[in-house]
């Protein structure tokens, strides 16, 4: 084998590898942002409670803000949760399967997930887009525009689909006889 073709092979396979690396990076970063929202939640609640009991000046934004931050955490964090395989499943059958059948099963599972998530993307985007056009605002004390928070739903679903694709594509490559079957990257803890 000449040196040239080796380089060629490496660069062909690395396109997918680079995509996997890129998604791992992206989902770790978004997961980290999502997790740190809990700190902002805490600060907002401290401000609200302190304001109410000690300074007699409750806020009109804390309740809404916390609910919106929760939306942010659930949907921004979905990429991280998916890439570390953190969604809960009953695995007493799944854990017993290995090799090629595992790869096929994973592809089936991925299709089921994509089927559901694509509907979240489509409908979630329509809801957010309508809010944007009609300028819908929240009904709490402060009238927050809803679009920036509603758009997190389709965004999170897209993240999940992109992360699931890393698994499917790796498994398809494995079934075609190249590379390894997919292994979820470990949780950062």
């Amino acid at each position: 084998m000449t040196e040239g073709s080796e380089v060629d092979n490496a660069s062909k396979s690395s396109l997918l590898d680079r995509y996997v690396k890129c998604m791992e990076w992206l989902s770790k970063q978004t997961g980290w942002i999502a997790g740190s929202l809990s700190f902002i939640m805490m600060i907002a609640i401290i401000r609200e409670v302190a304001g109410r009991y000690f300074f007699n000046s409750p806020t009109d934004w804390s309740v809404d803000l916390n609910a919106f931050l929760l939306v942010g955490m659930v949907y921004l964090g979905s990429g991280y949760t998916t890439i570390i395989d953190g969604h809960v499943r009953a695995d007493f059958f799944y854990a017993r399967i290995t090799g090629r059948s595992k790869a096929w099963l994973d592809i089936f599972i991925d299709l089921v997930c994509i089927y559901y998530c694509s509907m979240l993307v489509w409908e979630g985007w329509r809801l957010a887009y309508e809010s944007l056009i009609y300028g819908e605002v929240s009904s709490g004390g402060v009238r927050w525009p809803l679009f920036p928070f509603q758009v997190l739903v389709p965004l999170g679903a897209v993240l999940v689909i992109l992360c699931i694709l890393t698994r499917s594509l790796t498994n398809i490559r494995f079934l075609m006889g190249k590379g390894e079957a997919y292994q979820a990257s470990g949780a950062e803890h």
Binding site: M42, V49, Y80
Partner: protein, 435 residues
């Protein structure tokens, strides 16, 4: 299609997807999507966006990430080590003193943690090495902590009760209070079992060295902060002066403060806490959305209502139905995570419970008592695996399982007691202020 054909078909397809290993959120979501397309028509697909946003956009649920974050911080702040040291000094003279101390540490940690696995991990990491080193029986050690850790879900705060309260629209504060007495009762039963076994067979637990009273009082000094945190949260829920989410936020702040004052919190630990908070909140959120969709579809098709009507029309003994529900929950507990079971079964069971005339608060707490068992039953007893991960490699899963077996019996007895005497759950909520 008749409801008695449709409902079993739907449940069978759901179980099929879940058994195959499709994550629970996606099993529920994909099934709901298919059912909506078949029975409700594409116009109803707007349910997806309104649920995905609206169900999560809820202030009460903000308590979930905050309680998880707080437990993670307490776990890394070394407070549980101090609590364990203190309790083992006080229980040193009892037969099986260290096992009793770890049981009490579980109970204390449960009062600042919303989940079972966090409690088992926190106490196990400290108590297992210590107990084995002092020559405690390995089965007793691991089994008691696996069972005691499960109390984390029952003694308030409790993530499962927040989810239940939100979905069923019942007071989370009352649910929390409902968990106090059963939680303490189970804890006491576990301790009595440990002491009895150690009296009958003293080889299980060698006696400890003498501890002076001076040492005992001194050991208290490091623990008062966590005791204060646990007590303050319970009292504020009882008095109804703050919502669970507010209590969680303030609790987080105090946990961070305790961690910083003792100089034990590292940046790595905080980042790890953020990442776990993100993962747990995210998967719960996704299941919550999908389960709500599933619930909508089922009730649109009138399936749970028809099942409830049919059950009532059969005029069977309500307790028979209750036992049936508990058996289903125990079975599901063997293969699924409690949060998943809760969300999958609420749309079906709660209409039945209400139709028969049981109290939804009582049912919610009874559900969590039931999950005590599912945390330690194979093949998917999460706490068994957590203990397996902590214990040295010469302890097999079989050892842990044998050790947990007597506690499983106590879990069943506890479940029977709260069913026969609903007052165990309902007494404290009924005494709450403002209700």
């Amino acid at each position: 299609m008749e409801w008695w054909i449709l409902l079993p078909l739907i449940i069978a397809s759901l179980l099929f997807l879940i058994m195959l290993g499709v994550p629970i959120a996606f099993s529920l979501g994909a099934l709901s999507l298919t059912l909506i397309l078949i029975f409700l028509g594409p116009r109803q697909l707007i349910l997806f966006s309104t649920t995905a946003f609206g169900q999560i956009n809820n202030f009460a649920l903000a308590a979930i990430p905050l309680f998880i974050f707080m437990a993670e911080i307490v776990l890394h702040s070394g407070v549980s080590q101090d609590a364990y040291d203190m309790l083992s000094k006080w229980t040193g003279r009892l037969p099986g003193g260290l096992a009793v101390a770890s049981q009490l540490t579980c109970t204390l940690f449960a009062a600042v943690s919303g989940a079972s696995t966090a409690t088992a991990a926190a106490v196990g990491r400290i108590a297992v090495p210590e107990m084995l080193e002092r020559g405690y029986d390995k089965r007793l050690t691991c089994g008691s902590i696996a069972a005691g850790g499960a109390l984390g879900a029952l003694i308030p705060p409790s993530i499962y009760m927040i989810i239940y309260g939100t979905l069923v629209e019942e007071s989370i504060g009352q649910l929390f209070m409902g968990g106090v007495v059963p939680g303490l009762m189970m804890s006491a039963m576990f301790i009595v079992l440990i002491i009895t076994r150690c009296i009958i067979n003293p080889q299980l637990a060698p006696r400890l060295l003498e501890v002076t009273w001076r040492d005992r009082w001194k050991s208290l000094s490091k623990v008062w902060a966590i005791l204060f945190l646990a007590a303050a949260m319970l009292v504020s829920i009882y008095l109804g002066i703050a919502t669970p989410a507010e209590i969680a936020g303030v609790g987080c702040f105090f946990a961070l403060l305790i961690g910083f004052v003792y100089r034990r919190l590292s940046w790595v630990a905080i980042k790890g806490a953020f990442m776990s908070t993100c993962r747990i909140t995210c998967f719960i959120g996704w299941i919550l959305v999908a389960a709500t969709l599933f619930g909508y579809v089922l009730s649109y098709l009138q399936l749970p209502q028809q099942l409830a009507e049919w059950l009532v029309a059969q005029s069977t003994n309500p307790y028979l139905i209750l036992i049936g529900i508990n058996l289903i929950l125990i079975f599901l507990g063997c293969i699924m995570d409690p949060a998943g079971i809760l969300l999958v079964t609420i749309p079906i069971f709660v209409p039945i419970i209400k139709a028969i005339g049981f109290d939804p608060i009582w049912f919610g707490v009874m559900f969590v008592v039931n999950t005590e068992l599912s945390q330690i039953t194979p093949p998917l007893g999460l706490n068994l695996y957590i203990l397996k991960g902590i214990a040295p490699s010469n302890i097999s899963l079989k050892d842990i399982l044998y050790g947990a077996a007597p506690f499983m019996i106590l879990d069943v007895i506890g479940l029977a007691l709260v069913i026969i005497f609903p007052q165990i759950i309902l007494w404290l909520p009924s005494k709450m202020m403002g209700f």
